[in-house]
């Protein structure tokens, strides 16, 4: 027999040793807490930097400079056919009327160089703007009314102070005459700085002052619509089948491994697949939201399947027992109890998947959604682009004002993301409250 008390400490000795370890434990805890806080602080710091960079560029990008000109809405010149139709208005001479209004505002300078300088001040899309204005307000025809036009992006960036007037004339994008004219317009209080209507209602354009995100926004909405329409039912059905119905054998194991691997496949690979299968093999058109949505759906499927399976697994077995116990069939148990209880978790997975899809650029480049498309897509079969691709394209343009447009588009993208997530979370809360 061994001595049972060998090596045992008296209570007093034990207290002493515990006290010694206590100090070590406490300092370890404090160190751990410090590192944790430091990590969070660093993450927050980067977040602040990120948002600071986006918002300091993006907020001014939401605004632009406009000039108000008194334009004579001459019936004969604006509407040569006299029927106020769009065709007639576009055939009219809106551009000359605007030019006259502009020159009048500049006290009618003479000489070719002066008129050419004046012409460059306002946006090249002004004629279209006047046509739209007249079309919307036909009763103003014949009068001379103040109409607001966008300034050219070079003038806009000059007014924002991006162009130093002290640099030699040859090194500036705008010459002294233009600066003199702009100063005159500012002095006569014709220039205003307001929220850009082109940004939200315009589409792709080479001119920074007219470039807008409407086409890309609609393209994103259509693409995501297709994406969620395909990936959510397919993902949930797959998850339910694998969790509740499929026998556990080698075959389902292989499927499971493949789904998990699919989640780790780089997104551009899905783009190549989309190009090879849908466009080359099936002959679908390029650049359409339908193909984009299908490709993104395939990309988000693994995310939705994996999170839906986790949600289904988290439904307590006692609920299944209860349903089976009163005589519900397997299908009834799944549809009446398991899916409703797992739905919040499934929606969370879908939100994550959709957020990924919304920000995805690479696969869409592969299927041609990077094309320069001015028209807003009217349906899933119309060529279009999406917000992140639009941002990518704008970031590529050289003009100074596109930098701000890019950040402004990023803000819109983030806002879209927040709206999307908030509505999904609201939906989830609502579903949870049903119980």
């Amino acid at each position: 027999m061994t001595n049972l008390t060998a090596g045992a400490l008296s209570p007093k000795e034990a207290i002493g040793r515990v006290a010694a370890t206590l100090r070590r434990r406490r300092s370890a805890e404090l160190r751990f807490r410090f590192w944790g806080q430091a990590a969070i602080g660093l993450a927050l710091g980067f977040l602040v930097l990120l948002f600071g960079a986006i918002f300091s560029n993006g907020i001014p990008g939401l605004f632009q400079h406009y000039v108000v000109l008194d334009v004579e809405l001459n019936k004969q010149r604006l509407d040569p056919q006299g029927d106020m139709s769009v065709n007639s208005l576009y055939a009219g001479d809106a551009e000359a009327l605007i030019r006259e209004g502009l020159l009048a505002a500049l006290d009618n300078p003479t000489g070719r160089s002066n008129t050419r300088a004046a012409r460059g001040i306002i946006s090249s899309g002004s004629a279209q703007r006047l046509v739209d204005f007249v079309y919307a307000n036909p009763n103003l025809m014949g009068q001379t009314v103040p109409v607001k036009f966008a300034l050219d992006d070079d003038i806009d960036s000059f007014l924002r102070g991006f162009v130093d007037r002290n640099t030699p004339e040859a090194d500036r994008r705008i010459n002294d005459t233009v600066i003199q004219f702009v100063d005159k317009l500012v002095a006569s209080e014709r220039v205003s700085y307001e929220v850009s209507d082109y940004l939200f209602f315009g589409s792709a354009s080479r001119d920074a002052e007219m470039a807008g995100i409407r086409g890309a926004l609609i393209g994103s909405i259509l693409t995501l619509f297709i994406c969620v329409l395909i990936s959510f039912p397919l993902g949930v059905a797959t998850a339910v089948y694998l969790e509740e119905i499929a026998p556990k054998n080698r075959f389902t194991e292989i499927i499971e491994i493949n789904i998990n691997n699919l989640a780790a496949v780089p997104s551009v690979v899905f783009g190549i697949m989309g190009l090879a299968v849908f466009i080359v093999l099936f002959g679908m058109p390029r650049s359409i939201p339908l193909v984009g949505g299908i490709v993104l759906a395939l990309m988000t499927l693994p995310t939705i399947i994996i999170s839906s399976r986790a949600a289904i697994r988290s439904v307590p077995p006692s609920i299944r027992d209860a349903a089976l116990g009163v005589g519900a069939s397997k299908m009834q148990t799944i549809f009446h109890h398991v899916i409703p209880l797992a739905m919040p978790g499934m929606l969370t997975g879908t939100i994550i998947g959709m957020a990924q899809a919304l920000g995805e650029t690479a696969p869409l480049l592969m299927i041609g959604m990077v094309a320069f498309i001015v028209d807003v897509p009217g349906g899933v079969m119309d060529p279009g682009t999406v917000l992140p691709v639009q941002i990518f394209m704008w970031a590529d343009f050289a003009e100074r004002m596109f930098v701000q447009k890019t950040s402004a588009a990023i803000i819109v993208l983030l806002a879209f993301l927040i709206v999307m997530n908030a509505s999904a979370i609201w939906l989830r809360k609502k579903l949870e409250r049903r119980w």
Binding site: P247, K248, P316, S318, I319, R320, D321, A322, A323, L324, G325, V326, G327, A328, S329, Q332, H336, H337, L341, W435
Partner: protein, 284 residues
């Protein structure tokens, strides 16, 4: 000093348990005059492990029979065979014959859904659906199409809750979630849910193990009342409960049905040594 005594005691119990041999044949009356359910030579395997070994037992009509025995003795497994809840476990294989009203419940022509409508079940942990009290009760009748209209369904719900002795407590809050009730009320809600589909047999798997003594007393009282209309099989760890609520008692040990008989006889005059030791609290 105390330690030594305990060790010796444990050692003694162990040697004595090994000495005891499980009987080849169940001791006591396995057959009854009016059986509702019959089990003949039922074996249950979990994979290669035998969980139930050749159990033969009749379950009498409008009787309460309780299954007792130490943990892992197979009483719950056997209970879950009676309404084929074991079907959900892939590796579980049942052989032998189990019949309700002389109809083999494992026959391929039997739909497990209709079987479970006839043999209801109440589980160890109260498991109301996360729905309203009303919907908890109405779920079974709805899926089986027992009510032709809302009025009939209301009647079924009220009747079931009355039978479970819960009506007075919940009649003003039928639209509130069933999960908001207390543990004992939840268990009675589950009994009401089982009753709502008008089963012939109700299986109860340790229905009071998660309840306090007062709630337990209420459920036991309820079992007393339900006996008039239903055949009840109850698995319990509490021998007092078995003695209080059941007409017959079956003692399981290591997958075998050791002894079965009138509850009074089992508790006052057990035949087999294992039964004797178990009910006197020497092990288990």
């Amino acid at each position: 000093m105390t330690d030594t005594t305990m060790t010796t005691n444990a050692a003694m119990t162990e040697t004595r348990m090994e000495d005891r041999i499980l009987p080849d044949k169940t001791i006591g009356q396995v057959h009854v005059e009016h059986p509702r359910m019959t089990a003949r030579a039922v074996d249950v395997h979990y994979g290669t492990k035998k969980a139930i070994d050749s159990v033969t037992l009749d379950i009498g009509e409008r009787q309460v029979i309780s299954f007792i025995g130490p943990s892992g003795c197979g009483k719950s497994t056997f209970l879950r065979c009676l309404n084929r809840m074991n079907d959900t476990i892939d590796i579980c294989k049942v052989s032998g014959l189990i019949a309700i009203d002389e109809q083999d419940i494992y026959d391929p022509s039997i739909d497990v859904v209709s079987l479970r409508a006839r043999v209801g079940m109440v589980f160890q942990k109260p498991n109301p659906f996360p729905k309203s009290i009303y919907d908890n009760i109405a779920y079974g009748p709805r899926i089986h199409g027992l009510a032709n209209n809302k009025v009939e369904l209301d009647q079924i719900v009220e009747m079931s809750l009355r039978r479970a002795g819960l009506w007075e407590e919940v009649k003003d809050r039928l639209d509130q979630p069933g999960t908001g009730l207390s543990g004992g009320q939840q268990q009675r809600l589950c009994i009401a849910r089982a009753v709502a589909v008008s089963p012939e047999v109700i299986l109860m798997d340790e229905p009071c193990s998660a309840l306090d003594p007062i709630a337990t007393a209420k459920v036991e009282e309820l079992i007393h009342e339900l006996r008039a209309e239903y055949t009840i099989v109850i698995v319990t760890h509490s021998m007092q409960q078995a003695a209080r609520v059941s007409d017959r008692t079956a003692y399981f040990h290591l997958g075998k049905l050791v002894e079965v008989g009138e509850t009074k006889q089992i508790f006052t005059n057990p035949v087999h040594e294992l039964t004797q030791d178990y009910i006197t609290g020497r092990f288990g």
